[in-house]
């Protein structure tokens, strides 16, 4: 029974009592007051019912929209085809790289272990070893192609997720930091920089030079694009050289 129906039933019951020709003044007052209250509650619940109904309609619409968007994401395709395929490519890259590196390293170690004085045809053997190294470098062609496939897959997934996030109005600020991400931040696990080290070895050397580092050395560390200085205060720097 809806709230509106309940209010109607109560009102009918009050009307019935009134029609019984009640004489007691106090009871009449109570009945009058109950009638007023029932009317007020009826209006209130009626409005509430409409509000809730509207909310449910909105939620239903949102769920329908989300379902359509999730369908567009094609999660099954991502899970069963694209991610496993990209994973296999990456594993192949690691394996190819490892095999090639091992071959190059082993050959270099063989060369280092050779004694020019006691090795027959030393020059010829060195040339043969160099050819082995050159051949081993051909892995780069294969890994380059594999990397391109993985990059394409990532781009496709990125496009779909970006569109989904945009349609669903996802606010990244509201996303909770996972324990893994927190650990990564706490232990400064940033990984290799793209395009070479973010801080040059010379700048690092300046920090470890004997005696107190000059202000220019310190400033150089925090100049330009290399700097990630927001999280390091002057006090932190000063403490380093106390």
């Amino acid at each position: 029974m809806g709230a509106n129906d309940a209010a109607l039933r109560v009102k009918e019951a009050i009307s019935h009592l009134k029609s019984q020709n009640v004489k007691d003044r106090q009871l009449v007052d109570v009945l009058e007051l109950s009638g007023v209250l029932t009317d007020a509650m009826g209006h209130f619940f009626s409005a509430l019912d409409e509000t809730i109904k509207d909310e449910f309609v909105d939620i239903a619409g949102f769920i329908k929209k989300a379902r359509n968007e999730i369908g567009d994401l094609r999660p099954k395709d991502i899970k069963t085809n694209r991610i496993p395929s990209a994973g296999e490519e990456l594993e192949a890259i690691v394996a190819d790289t490892e095999i090639a590196t091992d071959k190059i390293m082993q050959t270099a170690e063989d060369v280092l272990a050779m004694d020019p004085d006691s090795t027959e045809d030393f020059g010829m053997q060195i040339q043969d070893k160099m050819l082995v190294i050159i051949e081993a470098c051909s892995f780069q062609d294969l890994t380059g192609q594999r990397v391109s496939k993985v990059v394409n897959t990532l781009k496709q997934i990125e496009d779909r997720i970006s569109r989904f996030a945009e349609v669903m109005g996802v606010d990244e600020d509201e996303v909770e930091i996972t324990p893994e991400e927190q650990r990564r931040r706490d232990l400064l696990l940033n990984g290799p920089a793209i395009g070479g080290p973010e801080t040059a070895q010379d700048d690092i050397d300046a920090m470890f030079a004997e005696g107190p580092a000059g202000q220019d050395d310190i400033d150089a560390l925090f100049d330009g694009d290399d700097a990630e200085g927001e999280e390091v205060s002057q006090d932190d720097i000063d403490a380093l050289f106390d």
Partner: protein
């Protein structure tokens, strides 16, 4: 005083290839006694249980479960190990990483990729010429 090239050196890296590269470079530099560990935890255990104290630790930063940064802090907090020379060799090249390592007591810091000359000069800066 000349550096004792027979002193044990500990190389810590989760990539066997990198351990092999550093081992080869150290061998070329004359270091004969080189041990390795795959992460900070294994390195710490080796350091605590070693018959002869390590004369030098060369450690990567990014390893699991214990990073080189955590290893450095553990070493510096341990009275028996705190004096061990420690060089960080890592691809972590942000200024905040270098500053944090220096604050934690690292003796020198090398960014990957590096060459033999850089490794030699940093080892010399930390333990003396050899």
């Amino acid at each position: 005083m000349a550096v004792d090239l027979s002193m044990p050196v500990l190389v810590v890296d989760d990539y066997k290839t990198m351990i092999r590269i550093i081992r080869n470079l150290l061998k070329q530099l004359g270091f004969e006694n080189v041990e390795d560990a795959a992460d900070g935890q294994e390195a710490l255990e080796k350091m605590k249980n070693a018959d002869q104290k390590f004369g030098l630790v060369i450690s990567d930063w990014n390893m699991e479960p214990m990073t080189g940064y955590e290893l450095l802090r553990e070493v510096r907090a341990d009275d028996g190990l705190k004096a061990t020379p420690f060089i960080m060799v890592t691809a972590e090249s942000k200024t905040e990483n270098v500053v944090a390592a220096k604050r934690a007591g690292v003796n020198n810091y090398i960014v990957k990729p590096f060459n033999a000359a850089t490794l030699k000069s940093k080892i010399a800066a930390v333990i003396g010429d050899f």
